[in-house]
Amino acid sequence: MQLTVLLFASYAEALGTARLELTVPERTVVGELVERLRAVAGAGRLPPRPLVAVNRRYAAYDHPLTASDEVAVIPPVAGG
């Protein structure tokens, strides 16, 4: 399936884009998507276990994904 992954701030800079389209197997979980991301140029600057949000909520690494999900990799936050 095709997944859209949103990137922000330092991660968007590292990977050179705010939006990646990735092809992954059906029933991929968040942790597998993160491993798949590592093949992308610039992904070497991601930490070992980056935060991921699915449909605008933080998600666990065993959370299963579907093609309609809004997936985002979240850099260390600095709001307030």
Binding site: P48, P50, Y58, A72, P75, G80
Partner: protein, 149 residues
């Protein structure tokens, strides 16, 4: 009445307070975060706040709902700014009101602590020497505490 907002416009702190005003609430606490002119010994001339806006709005709304759950009878509101800010400008305003002061203080404090911990907002500081850098005091690695149960 929207109690959570992410905005590119200057924040009106009095307006955020007004959202929690009630004649039955005798105590209101307002927290205002402003851009400091220094950080870690370096002079700061300004900063850019950027957000995953759709999620930030949802997450801020969830934080406010949690505060109202934890501190029953509290009214809360919060607005976070995005865009380029100069020192002294307001980056966030949080207001909480309650019949009594302890819950108003506790609710306002809860909201700002959770915002710092969880809100998908990032900032890049502009230093007086012309350099810019993403600043990341928050949690970087996947953290099971952040995942809703």
């Amino acid at each position: 009445m929207t109690r959570a907002a992410i905005t590119a416009d200057p924040i009106d702190a009095a307006g955020v307070m007004a959202r929690v005003a009630s004649d039955s609430h005798g105590a209101t606490v307002l927290f205002v975060g402003t851009v400091r002119d220094h950080n870690g010994g370096q002079g700061v001339s300004g900063l850019d706040y950027t957000a995953y806006e759709a999620m930030a709005l949802d997450e801020l709304d969830r934080i406010l709902a949690e505060a109202q759950d934890r501190f029953a009878g509290t009214a809360v509101a919060a607005v976070h700014r995005v865009g380029t800010l100069a020192p002294g400008e307001i980056s966030i305003a949080v207001a909480a009101s309650h019949a009594h002061r302890a819950s108003a203080f506790d609710a306002a404090r809860y909201v700002i602590e959770e915002v710092k911990r969880r809100l998908p907002v990032w900032k890049r500081e502009h230093y007086l020497d012309g350099t810019r850098e993403w600043v990341a005091p928050g949690i970087g690695a996947a953290d099971d505490d952040l995942v809703p149960r």
